[in-house]
Every structure is written in structure tokens, then in C-alpha cells.
């Protein structure tokens, strides 16, 4: 084992000698820094190899030939080594970042300061002597102070002075604390002090301890005493900010972690509270920020606050944390800290490389900010920071929430989750600002209708298409500066993969089936490689289709019942719906991989055998689908909503997973699943996300992804049968008798039917065809929810039946419509018309589709209606049945409108040359038609397997008589209906075709009523805009965006809170100092009061 003293000696020597080397040769100077920093990573790695990790072995190194406490000692353990690896790794990448800047005289000093900083933080991590820690703290602080000035702006000097004042106060407190501790315990050595902890168990001892703690906390920028911190992040060079937030703060945090054994109960509570408050308020503040760097700064402050909270809670609730997961609190801290260090540093570097300063100006400037590589890096870093799988923060979040809830610490858990949600919101907002295309205003949440007849559709200007732009972009992306964020990303990805393997497999590799959960990650990696080596897009999609088919063939046969039904929906449905993508030309980096990963994570929901596995797949699904939504031309606003709602839902699920089978669990889990399904009130993300996605991918979201929530409902159905109001609520009052007996399923049922109604109703007034379909999907999912909530055999059968048939007809419709949009280049229905002659096959598909959706016999849709109403009436849910019928009538309206306005009426001049949709888009349509026809002809083919699937859950209430299915109420013979319909249809048709054959004659549409004269423009004769005006007049009050308004209110509450809190940060250095003093004095008096 290499002595840590060599590490320190090496850094010292290199720093001292660097000016001399630098004078001789600049290159040599840089090399020295790189070599030395590389060694600082290598040495802890060597320790890790030498140490026994299982027992968390520690080795103590003495100095000066005396043993502690006489002399200063250093401790090398697993904890120290791991932290040093990440901290020094971050610093090494920082060095790479700084080398990018070929600025003149700063170079040498920046290098020296970097080394002194690293020396300081290494000392902080290794040192076990309190005063020695102070010295190292000063070394790292001073290095940082000097580094802050690297931008050489007045702002950076201002920030530097603020930082130094705060740091100075912290040092003073630390010194006073240390010297009193020394006087009381007679030692400066931490281990000695911990051994003599009882000496400090009095008011003076706690006060002295508090002084040290307060000093460390102040260094870590607690709320509200942290204004200078944000100022520094805003003013300093992003490279320095990366060091501040990653390297330095992490090391100081480690010191806090080291001294926690000294803390008593009161102090831990105070520390936890400070950390938690800092976390939540920083997130609020960051949300309000316009300056990217300040935003990142607040985020860093918040993350460190989270770390503090976790450590304090971990010590408070020791057992809960150590027993719930291997490694206990340390693993947690490592995961959170490391994840934050690399991702935040990476993001700071990104902001530095691309020169992103203000979110506002990014919105204004119509340039593409990031190319594909940059977008990928920023996307990964942002996902990592937001805690998506497989990145370390995901696992950490899981452990923390698990432990907190296990201990019953609900408040902290919810604070952490809410804070994380806010954080994800603003981080992804920035991401979207950075990557979105110039035509995307970022605010599109609903259809956009031009004022009058629109100008020609704007062609998307090819970003950077000019030679200069291309050169500039290549230069930007190939320059050395990308190394640092790239390395950070690589580290995060590697750790993420490793952790995923660790957590998911947990050493139980018994066959390839255990690996299935990791498949999405493997896919992402593999397809990224494909992108790098420029495999053609069509080949990528082809491979993806083959892979999903293979996945289905290998894994689905092992399933049965409901899982199999959903497996087919998720896998087979997706595979078919990938076909239209083959139509695309050119490169679409990341698309195929993301898509396949989404499909696999959906599929993996079927195989999840534990809560963690489920949540892993669920979150993976969320993030991959988010990255798919983002690709839409104007999707960034919608994508953000989608992400925030999905994540909120996921957090709700996460919390719900730990309440066993109590009503609370049902509530939380239910909310999570309902968000995914987009039920009313939680639906506002849905239309945008479905509609603004690329046309050929909307179908996934609508027909496949939305079923994930339903699947989980089925899986956990037992939860929802219980009464919603826990026993004992409002006991003894009349309220109780009123509320008791209301089960969750009753609520779900109403929610489902209201959603069905609202979906149909909102679809009615949309001019944008994709929004129509999106709302339509929402309505259909409402039916599924309603049927599910019935908790009867017929209800469940219907829910599954709807899920399967909805996949077919909605998938078909979306694909058909994407073909139309692809050809006509518009999504507004009233701008189309008369396309039946140009796109007959598509028309036929849509015709079949709408007949099926609306439930008109003889196609499959009727089966669903029949089962639904039968089951509803059986159950006695009459009013729901009536509302469902109303909803289905309204559905008929918008469906008619859909087909009429697009395909019938007058053909527009500009569409006279439109041709049929490309072959790749027709294939899924044909598959869909075939499926619908088959099931319409022989519904028993579908009904009987579904009956078998739900058989384990309910007593059977239906019986079969040949092809007739009999319920307790009625009967339905789909086959007979089909024959009769065909008969009554064929007779008149044949009459026309045979008997009246000779005297029919086809003429143009203007021939009769306009007496063969042509009106000026076809548009004026095509009735398409505001089609159901009477409805709007009669019931328009119903489609006020109440839910949207509600959620906006929620957001604005957060924003108002953020801007109110912001007022604390006046920018005045003295106010900042005052806050520090107030912070200290308040905590101190709380603490002493608590004694």
C-alpha cells in the first residue's frame, strides 16, 4: 500500500516546483499536472485493491515518527479511498477542461492552484486531526478563492470577496471550536475525541462541536446563509464552479461525514433540518433562475444539502439505513456524492464550452446550440443528476426513500421527492433550451392554429447548413474541451451500468432470463455504437424490429394470463409499429436505440419480480420515452410537461411501494399509474406529448406506452378493492356512515368514465388531428380504467379487450394519420380535405379504424361496448353507464369529423399531387385491418383467451353458446352480426352494381350544386373548421382548461415561493454576513434550548 504521505508529498513538490518547470516548458508543466493528478487517482485505486473492502478496513498512517494523538495521523480506508477516487477524478477532468483554454498568463497559476486545491481536499479526506483539517481546508479554500478570479471580471472579484468573507467567518468559527474542543478533551485527534465523546456531553462541549459543524455547514452553503455561494457560481468560470461544487464541497462534506460520530441527537437533528431546508429551498430558487450557472449553483447547493440531510438522518436512524441495504449510509453518500460530482461538473463544463449563460437569451436566439454529441452528453448528465436509472443517484434515491419510509420519516421522504422533482424540472428545462430546434418556441402545449388561411408551411431552416456553420460546429465538437464532460459522462455511464448489474442481478445469475432487466441498457450502448460507426438508420430500425421480435419469442412464452396479454401489446405491438420508421431517410442518432430500449423496459415491467426491479424499468421507460418525445419539432414544452408529470407519478409510486397494502399505498400507487394513463386532472401532459412527438412515433405513446399504467393496475388490483377511507376516519359522525364503503374501485370507476367523457369531449374541438387522436386515446384509456374498476369478470375482460383492440385501431389510425401528415405537410384538419382519391388505402384504414373505435357493429369496437355496458349494468353502475354512452356518442362525432374533414369534401389545390402513403406506413395499417377483421368475424378468438386470462380472479358469469356469448343480462353473437351486416350491406350494393349498373355516372364534385362552375377556392367550400360549432355553443363551458389552470396555479405557487425566497439574496455582502450570523445564532440557540 502506497503511503498517503507520498500522495501529499508529491502534490506539494509538484506545486512548489511547477513554476520552475513551467518556465522551462509549458508542455512539461501541463504534463506534470496531468501526471500528478493522474497519480492522485491511481494511488487511491491501489489502496482499494490492497484494502479489504468487505470489512471496510482502515489503515492509519502516522507522521513525524510519533503515534497519534501526539502527532498528526492520516487514515486510509475504503471510504477515504473511494471518495478520493471520485474527487481526484473530478479534478483530473477539470485539468483537462482547463487545458482547453489557451489563455495566457493564467495558465501556470491555474495549474498550480489546481494542484494545491487537490492537495487541500486530499488532506481533508485523509486527515484525522481537527486542526490539520483546518489547515487543509484553508489550502483548498484559498486555492478556490484565487481560482474564482480566473474570469477576471469585476463580477468574479465581487464574488471572490463575498466568498472570502464567508469563508473567513467559517474559519474563525472552526478555530474557536477546535481550540475549545482541544481544551475539553485534551486531544486534537478525531479518533481520540470520539473515544472520549462523553467529555463533550455538556452544554459547552456541544457548543464547541456546534461551532465546528456550523463552520463546515457554512462552507457547504446552507440556506439562507448561502447567497455568496450562488454569486460565486454565477460569476466564476464554469470550470471553477465545477471544482467548487464537485471537488471542494464533496471533500468538506466528507469532513462533516467524518465528524458525525461525535454528534449527539440534538446536533444531528439540527444538521438534518439545515440540510433538508437547504435542499428544498435551493431547488425552488434554482427553478426561478434565468442564469444557467446560477441555476446550476443552486442545484449544487441543494444537492449538498441533500447529502447533509442523508448523513444526518443516516446517523439518527442508524439501523434503518444499515439494515435496509448493503453498505449502509456510506454507500448512499458515495452514490449521491459521486453522481452529483460528475454530473454537475459535467454540466458546468457544458455550460462553459457552449457559452450558455442565460435561459432567456437562449430562447431568443434562433440557433441550434448543441449538435448530436453535445445533446447526448448533456442529456446523459442531466438524466444522471435528476436520478434516472441506471445512474448512481437513482439507486441512492431508492435506498434513501426506502430507508426513510421504513423508519416512518414521511416528511423527509416527501421533501426529498418534491425537491428532486423541481430539480428535474429545471434541469430538463435547460436541456430542452439547449438542444431544441429553432422552430420550437418551447411553449407548445396545445394545438396551434394560425389566424386565417395560413401562409405556406414554414420549412425548417437547416441549422448550420451553411459551410461556415458546419465548420464551426465540427470545430466546436471536436475541440479538446469536450473531453472533460465526455469523461464525466463516461464515468457516470460506467458506474451506472455497474450498479445496475450489481443491484439487479444481486449475484443470482441463473440463466439468461435474469439478464432481461438489463437489456434496455445493453441496447442503448449497442445502438450508440451503431450511431458512432454510422450504421444506416434503416438497418438500425430493422435490427430493432428483429430484436423486439426475438425478445418476444424468447421471453413471452414463459408468461401466461394477463401478463401475456400485455406482453403481446408491449412487444408485438411495438414491433409492428416500428415499421413506419423504415420510411425515414438520413441519420437519426439515438432514435432507434431509445425506441428499442423503451420497448424493452416496457416488456421488463412484466418480468419485474421486486419493487426495485419494477421501479427501475418504470423509470427507464420514463426517461427513454422522454428522449423520444423531445425529438418532435415543437415538442420541448410538451416534453417537459411529460417528464415532470411522469417523474411526479414515478415518485408517487416510489413512495407508495412502501406502504404495504394500506389505503395510502393504493392512493400513491394509483396516482402514479393514473398519471401514466393520463386520467382527467393528471392528463395535461398527455395531448402535447402524444401530439408533438414525431408523427411516426406518436403511435407508441398512444397505443403502447399508455397501457403500462393499466398493466400495473391489473397487477396490483388487490390494493384497490379496499375502502378508500381508512377505518376510524371521522368515527362516530354521520360523515363516516356516508363515506364508509367507498372503495378505490368506485373512485377509479368514476375517474375512468369522466376521463372517457373528457377525452372525447376535448377531442371534439381540436383542429389539429394529432391532438384529436391524443385526446381520443385519453378517452379510450378512460374506458379501460372504468372496465378495470368494475372488478368483475366481464369488466376485466373488457379492459383487456379494449387494450388489445385499442392497440390495433389506434395504432392503425396514428400510422395512417402520420402518412397523411407526411404527405400533406400539415396537421390541421381543415387544411386537408378530399384526400380519399389520393390516398384510398389510408382512407380505408381510417374508415375501419373509426368504425372500430366508435363501437359501431359489426367491428370489434362493439364487443367492447357490449361488454362494458353489460358489466356496468350488472354491477349497478347505471349513471356511469349513461355517461359512458354519452361519451361514446361524442366519440362518434369527432371520429366522423376526422374522416370527413381529411378525406371527404373538397380536395385542396396543393394536395392534387399527393400520393398514397409510403409502403412502410401501409404495412402496419394492413396488419391492423387484418387483426380487426379477424376479431370482428370471430370475437371468440379474442374473448376466450381473455376469459382464460381473468379466470383465476373471478367466478365466471358468462357462458358460451356456439359463437354467442351470454351474460346474465344479454347476449352477443359477433359472427352472426357480421354475417347479417354483410348480407344487408351486399344486397343494396349488388342492387346498385348489377341492376343499376348502366345508369350511374361519375361526375366532379362541383357538377351539380354549383352548376359545373367552380368557386374561387376549394377551401371556401370545404366545411372543416370549427366543425361542431353548435356543440361549442351549447356545452363549450365544459372544456375550459380547468386542470391546466390548476397545475399552472401549482407551478406559480412554486415560482412565487422561489421569487420570494430570492429576495433574501440581495447581493449585499453584509446582508450575507448577517445571514451567516443569524443562521449560526439561531441554530445555536435551538441547540442550547434543546439541552
Amino acid at each position: 500500500m502506497v503511503s498517503p504521505l507520498y500522495l501529499i508529498a508529491m502534490l506539494l513538490g509538484a506545486a512548489f516546483l511547477h513554476p520552475l518547470i513551467q518556465n522551462r516548458s509549458k508542455l512539461a508543466g501541463q504534463l506534470v499536472v496531468l501526471v500528478v493528478l493522474g497519480a492522485t487517482v491511481a494511488i487511491p485505486l491501489q489502496w482499494l485493491m490492497a484494502l479489504d473492502i468487505a470489512t471496510m478496513q482502515t489503515v492509519v498512517f502516522q507522521t513525524a515518527g510519533f503515534t497519534a494523538p501526539l502527532s498528526i495521523n492520516l487514515q486510509v480506508g475504503v471510504e477515504e479511498s473511494l471518495f478520493l477516487v471520485i474527487i481526484n477524478g473530478g479534478a483530473l477532468f477539470s485539468a483537462l477542461y482547463f487545458f482547453r483554454r489557451r489563455t495566457r498568463e493564467w495558465e501556470g497559476s491555474v495549474q498550480i492552484l489546481l494542484m494545491t486545491l487537490v492537495l487541500g481536499v486530499n488532506g481533508l479526506v485523509l486527515g484525522r486531526d481537527l486542526f490539520n483539517l483546518f489547515v487543509f481546508m484553508e489550502i483548498s479554500s484559498l486555492s478556490l478563492y484565487a481560482l474564482v478570479a480566473t474570469t477576471k471580471t469585476a463580477n468574479s472579484y465581487e464574488a471572490g470577496i463575498k466568498l472570502m468573507v464567508a469563508g473567513g467567518i467559517a474559519s474563525a468559527l472552526f478555530l474557536i471550536g477546535v481550540v475549545f474542543l482541544y481544551r475539553m478533551t485534551g486531544t486534537l485527534n478525531l479518533d481520540d475525541m470520539i473515544a472520549n465523546k462523553q467529555l463533550l456531553d455538556n452544554k459547552a462541549g456541544i457548543t464547541a462541536l456546534f461551532l465546528i459543524t456550523a463552520s463546515l455547514l457554512i462552507e457547504l452553503k446552507p440556506f439562507p446563509a448561502n447567497g455568496w455561494g450562488a454569486d460565486v457560481y454565477q460569476a466564476a468560470d464554469p470550470g471553477v464552479s465545477a471544482l467548487t461544487s464537485g471537488t471542494s464541497a464533496t471533500a468538506i462534506f466528507f469532513v462533516l461525514y467524518k465528524i458525525t460520530p461525535l454528534f449527539g441527537f440534538e446536533l444531528l437533528q439540527v444538521v438534518a433540518a439545515s440540510g433538508g431546508i437547504t435542499f428544498i429551498f435551493s431547488q425552488l430558487l434554482a427553478y426561478k433562475q434565468d442564469s444557467v450557472r446560477r441555476m446550476l449553483g443552486y442545484s449544487s447547493i441543494g444537492q449538498i444539502g441533500l447529502l447533509i440531510l442523508v448523513v444526518a438522518l443516516g446517523s439518527l436512524y442508524g439501523e434503518a439505513f444499515t439494515t435496509t441495504m448493503f453498505g449502509g449510509i456510506f454507500l448512499l453518500v458515495l452514490l449521491l456524492g459521486g453522481n452529483h460530482l460528475f454530473s454537475k461538473a459535467g454540466l458546468f463544463w457544458m455550460s462553459g464550452i457552449t457559452g450558455q449563460h442565460s435561459l432567456g437569451t437562449m430562447r431568443q436566439s434562433k440557433t441550434v446550440r448543441l449538435g448530436p454529441v453535445g445533446a447526448a452528453l448533456q442529456g446523459i448528465l442531466t438524466s444522471a443528476l435528476a436520478g434516472f436509472p441506471p445512474f448512481p443517484a437513482f439507486w441512492a434515491k431508492w435506498i434513501v426513500i426506502t430507508a426513510l419510509l421504513a423508519f416512518g420519516s414521511y416528511w423527509w421522504a416527501s421533501i426529498i421527492l418534491i425537491g428532486s422533482l423541481i430539480e428535474a424540472a429545471y434541469l430538463f428545462k435547460w436541456f430542452l433550451n439547449a438542444v431544441k430546434s429553432p422552430v420550437d418556441p418551447g411553449t407548445v402545449h396545445d394545438e396551434v392554429i394560425p389566424e386565417d388561411f395560413p401562409e405556406e408551411p414554414v420549412k425548417e431552416p437547416m441549422a448550420g447548413a451553411s459551410p461556415a456553420g458546419i465548420v464551426a460546429r465540427i470545430a466546436r465538437q471536436s475541440s479538446g474541451g469536450w473531453i472533460a464532460p465526455f469523461m464525466a459522462t463516461a464515468v457516470l455511464v460506467a458506474c451506472g451500468m455497474l450498479l445496475a448489474t450489481m443491484f439487479i442481478l444481486r449475484g443470482r445469475i441463473s440463466g439468461y432470463r435474469d439478464m432481461v432487466l438489463l437489456l434496455p441498457l445493453a441496447v442503448l450502448v449497442l445502438w450508440t455504437v451503431f450511431d458512432v460507426i454510422r450504421v444506416p438508420f434503416k438497418l438500425q430500425i430493422g435490427l430493432a424490429i428483429i430484436c423486439s421480435a426475438g425478445y418476444g419469442l424468447v421471453f413471452l412464452p414463459g408468461l401466461d394470463g394477463i401478463r401475456l396479454v400485455f406482453g403481446l401489446i408491449f412487444i408485438a405491438g411495438s414491433a409492428v409499429q416500428m415499421v413506419p420508421l423504415l420510411n425515414r431517410r438520413g441519420h437519426h442518432r439515438g432514435l432507434a436505440g431509445m425506441l428499442l430500449a423503451l420497448v424493452f423496459s416496457l416488456g421488463n415491467l412484466l418480468f419485474a419480480s421486486s419493487a426495485l426491479e419494477f421501479f427501475f424499468s418504470w423509470e427507464l421507460m420514463t426517461i427513454t420515452s422522454f428522449f423520444l418525445v423531445v425529438r418532435g419539432r415543437q415538442a420541448s414544452g410538451a416534453a417537459l410537461r411529460y417528464l415532470v408529470f411522469s417523474l411526479g407519478g414515478a415518485f408517487s409510486i416510489l413512495a407508495g411501494l412502501f406502504f404495504g397494502s394500506s389505503p395510502l399505498a393504493a392512493l400513491l400507487l394509483g396516482i402514479g399509474f393514473l398519471v401514466k394513463m393520463g386520467t382527467l386532472g393528471l392528463h395535461i401532459w398527455l395531448p402535447g406529448a402524444y401530439a408533438e412527438t414525431d408523427d411516426d412515433m406518436s403511435t407508441f405513446f398512444s397505443s403502447v406506452t399508455s397501457k403500462a399504467g393499466l398493466f400495473m393496475l391489473f397487477l396490483l388490483a388487490g390494493l384497490f378493492v379496499q375502502e378508500a377511507i381508512p377505518a376510524g376516519f371521522a368515527a362516530g359522525t354521520r360523515l363516516e356512515s356516508l363515506l364508509s364503503g367507498i372503495a378505490f374501485t368506485d373512485l377509479l370507476g368514476w375517474l375512468g368514465v369522466v376521463t372517457a367523457f373528457a377525452g372525447a369531449f376535448l377531442a371534439l374541438f381540436k383542429e389539429d388531428i394529432k391532438y384529436t387522436l391524443a385526446y381520443s386515446s385519453m378517452g379510450q384509456v378512460g374506458y379501460m380504467l372504468l372496465s378495470f374498476a368494475l372488478m368483475s369478470q366481464l369488466g376485466w375482460m373488457n379492459s383487456l379487450y379494449l387494450a388489445v383492440t385499442h392497440l390495433m385501431f389506434k395504432g392503425m389510425l396514428f400510422v395512417a394519420i402520420s402518412g397523411v401528415v407526411y404527405r400533406t405537410k400539415t396537421r390541421l384538419m381543415y387544411q386537408m380535405g378530399g384526400l380519399i382519391t389520393r390516398m384510398p388505402i389510408t382512407f380505408f384504414t381510417v374508415l375501419i379504424g373509426i368504425i372500430a373505435v366508435s363501437g359501431v357493429p359489426p367491428l370489434t369496437g362493439f364487443g367492447a361496448k357490449w361488454m362494458l355496458y353489460t358489466a356496468l349494468i350488472e354491477k349497478g353502475w347505471y349513471l356511469q353507464a349513461a355517461l359512458a354512452m354519452f361519451a361514446s356518442g361524442i366519440a362518434f362525432l369527432y371520429l366522423f369529423r376526422l374522416i370527413h374533414v381529411i378525406f371527404l369534401g373538397q380536395l385542396k389545390d396543393e394536395h392534387r399531387t399527393v400520393t398514397e402513403a409510403p409502403i412502410w406506413m401501409l404495412i402496419p395499417q394492413v396488419v391492423g385491418i387484418a387483426g380487426i377483421m379477424l376479431y370482428s368475424m370471430y370475437p371468440s378468438l379474442l374473448l376466450k383467451p381473455l376469459e382464460a386470462a381473468v379466470a383465476p380472479f373471478f367466478e365466471t358469469t358468462i357462458s358460451w353458446d356456439g359463437y354467442t356469448v351470454l351474460s346474465t343480462l344479454g347476449y352477443w353473437n359477433g359472427t352472426a352480426v357480421m354475417y347479417v351486416t354483410m348480407g344487408v350491406f351486399l344486397v343494396p350494393l349488388l342492387w346498385l352494381l348489377i341492376v343499376q349498373r348502366k345508369n350511374t355516372q361519375k361526375v366532379g364534385q362541383f357538377n351539380i350544386v354549383y352548376a359545373a362552375e367552380r368557386p374561387y377556392r376549394p377551401e371556401t367550400t370545404h366545411f372543416g373548421y370549427n366543425f361542431f360549432a353548435p356543440y361549442e355553443k351549447a356545452l363549450g363551458f365544459l372544456h375550459k382548461p380547468l386542470a391546466t389552470r390548476f397545475w399552472y396555479r401549482v407551478v406559480s405557487v412554486a415560482e412565487v415561493a422561489g421569487s420570494m425566497v430570492r429576495k433574501l439574496y440581495t447581493g449585499n455582502i453584509q446582508t450575507y454576513a448577517l445571514w451567516i450570523v443569524i443562521y449560526t445564532s439561531i441554530l445555536l440557540s435551538i441547540l442550547q434550548r434543546g439541552m
Binding site: 489563455t103 474570469t151 477576471k152 471580471t153 469585476a154 463580477n155 457559452g355 464551426a472 466546436r476
Partner: protein, 102 residues
């Protein structure tokens, strides 16, 4: 005896400290602050810490005061910013532009 001296020194220090804060003339304030350090070194001597006393005298009162004076002189020498208040920032703008290009 030594207690009396300590109290005396202490009062001196406090007076000097207040003077350092409230004297109009900055140079006098600097000198007052230096004198606080100087008296502090006497206090250290009283307390049996000659090493500290020496250091305080050499560093705290002498060198620090000189550094203060030098920097005050430097600030005084250029009462106006070089050209306009933003000049240094604009100086650094090439840096940022370089960022954009890279």
C-alpha cells in the same frame, strides 16, 4: 499586577479596534488595526507565549500593516477605473468568445 496590565492592554485593544473601524482616514485606521495587533503581541507575552508574540508582532502588526498600506496606496493611486467600469469585463470577453468558437 499582570491582570491589571491585561485589562489595560485589553482596553487599549478595544479602543484601537473601534478606532480602526470608525476613523475617517483609512491610513489611520490601518495603523490603528496594526496597533491592536501590536498590543495583542504584548498580551501574548503576558500569557507566556513569546513565540506567538513574536509572530504576531512580525506578521500581524508589521507585515499585515505594510500589506494594507501598500494596497491602499495602490487603490488610491487609481481612483478612477481604467477607462470605464466595464473595461476589465470587456477585456475578458475575448475569452468568452473563444468559448463560443471552440
Amino acid at each position: 499586577m499582570s491582570q491589571l496590565m491585561l485589562v489595560l492592554f485589553g482596553l487599549l485593544m478595544l479602543v484601537g479596534a473601534v478606532a480602526a473601524l470608525y476613523l475617517k482616514d483609512t491610513v489611520s485606521a490601518i495603523l490603528a488595526a496594526g496597533s491592536v495587533s501590536l498590543v495583542a503581541s504584548l498580551v501574548y507575552l503576558l500569557l507566556g507565549a513569546p513565540d506567538v508574540a513574536m509572530t504576531e508582532a512580525a506578521i500581524g502588526s508589521a507585515l499585515t500593516t505594510v500589506v494594507f498600506l501598500f494596497s491602499w496606496a495602490r487603490i488610491q493611486h487609481r481612483p478612477q477605473p481604467s477607462k470605464n467600469p466595464q473595461s476589465e469585463e470587456s477585456d475578458s470577453n475575448p475569452d468568452d468568445q473563444e468559448d463560443h468558437q471552440l
